[in-house]
């Protein structure tokens, strides 16, 4: 009985740690999906709240991260279902220019990339950001979004194709030194 209690406490602590450690990452992802700080904050809180209330559904601790991101993706679906909201490009620009940063080249690049990501259909945006920001495997992304791996690949492909059309000339070109260019982007 004591062992069981001890195990229970360990599980709770592990769960609490998981949520605490995931918060910033969830927020970054929520921001990448919405480009709205308020909404991103809401999504994260909603996700954490749901995770707390549904923690018993988490059977495999190894799948915990995917589980959290899946909850957040579902929260966003609920949000869109409720709002039926389609933001226009104009609104997009308003949101992006709210960043009070100075117009340095780096910031211009960041804004431009974010605008291009924002213009993607949400389904493509989610796949790209889960792969690129979180480094999730295609299988994990499929699990998070509850879609087949083949769909992950095709969405990734179409999304990147669209981004390429918008962005590939954005960053400084360094003819004849491609590898260096790649390094400098970071």
């Amino acid at each position: 009985m004591a062992g069981k209690t001890f195990l229970g406490i360990m599980q709770r602590q592990a769960f609490r740690k998981l949520i605490a450690n995931s918060r910033e990452r969830l927020y970054r992802m929520a921001y990448a999906w919405t480009h709205d700080t308020h909404l991103a904050d809401d999504l994260v809180q909603q996700t954490l709240c749901k995770a707390l209330s549904n923690r018993r559904q988490l059977r495999d601790p190894g799948a915990a991260e995917a589980w959290l991101f899946r909850i957040m993706s579902n929260c966003l679906k609920d949000y869109h279902r409720a709002k039926r909201e389609i933001l226009t490009d104009q609104e997009l620009i308003v949101i992006d220019t709210q960043t009070p940063d100075r117009e340095t080249h780096k910031q211009q690049l960041v804004l431009k990339v974010r605008q291009a990501v924002r213009k993607l259909p949400l389904a493509q945006c989610q796949v790209i950001t889960l792969v690129d920001l979180e480094g999730f495997t295609y299988a994990t992304v499929a699990e998070v979004l509850e879609i087949p791996v083949g769909t992950v690949m095709s969405r990734l492909c179409r999304g990147r194709q669209a981004l390429k059309e918008h962005l590939i000339d954005v960053s400084p070109r360094s003819q004849g030194a491609r590898a260096t260019t790649l390094t400098r982007v970071k």
Binding site: R16, R28, C49, A82, E85, T99, L156, I168, L182, V185
Partner: protein, 231 residues
């Protein structure tokens, strides 16, 4: 020069995303060595990936995230400090629920089984919903077992904040009566803040406390094993 054409975009993506097995990966590396075009395409894919990562290295923090001292555990403290709120449209998430078991998560030492208190959450501006919340609170008080008084709180946010706006609420008298019966009312500080940002002057009934966001309060009470009900 065009010998890389049989590599699809999917394959190039799989390459830059580390999804190819070592053998395929080596093959592609080798071919890229001899194909300028393939090399360029791979470079573009990587560049794109880096651009996306770079664009979200630093994201703007939640606005108005600075908060006062936090009354609960470190974890929840951090959550609360981040500025918690439920916006319109996100209401689908927090459905009526009992959170007794989950309450132990935030506070290992809390005995939760015996707690029979309720936090009611009003997010709707519909007077019928507001009335339902007030009636529910009354009924919970009345149905408490003898000798075991039950604590009830009502937290209002989103459009439900109108319940606690002194110049808007149609239920001032009922609120006063419930407050006299020890029901505690909380007006969501974030909702108020957002209304004020939009130029709305917000006056809250004196019975209500404006200290937390709605979700802050809900989470706190969940920690303590209270029952949560969204009206």
């Amino acid at each position: 020069m065009n010998k890389d054409r049989h590599y699809s975009e999917e394959q190039l993506n799989a390459f830059v995303d580390g999804e190819l097995d070592p053998e395929e990966r080596s093959r592609l590396y080798n071919e890229a060595e001899h194909s300028e075009d393939l090399d360029r395409r791979l470079c573009q894919q990587r560049k794109l990936k880096e651009l996306v990562r770079h664009a979200y290295d630093e994201v703007p923090p939640p606005r108005n995230s600075a908060r006062g001292p936090l009354p609960r555990s470190t974890f929840f403290g951090r959550i609360l400090a981040a500025g918690v709120l439920l916006t319109l449209g996100l209401s689908a998430g927090l459905v009526t629920h009992r959170f007794i078991d989950e309450a132990a998560i935030g506070s290992d030492a809390q005995p939760v089984a015996a707690i029979d208190n309720y936090i009611l959450h009003v997010a709707s501006g519909e007077p019928a919903q507001m009335r339902a919340a007030l009636e529910k609170a009354r009924s919970l008080l009345d149905s408490a077992p003898a000798g075991r008084p039950r604590q009830v709180e009502i937290v209002a946010n989103e459009k439900g904040i109108d319940l606690l706006r002194s110049d808007v609420t149609p239920f001032a008298r009922e609120i006063r009566a419930l407050a006299d019966s020890d029901v505690v009312f909380y007006a969501c500080s974030r909702t108020i803040q957002r209304l004020e940002e939009r130029g709305v002057e917000v006056r809250i009934v004196p019975e209500a406390i404006v200290e937390y966001t709605a979700l802050d309060r809900v989470v706190m009470r969940m920690q303590e094993g209270w029952n949560y009900t969204k009206i």
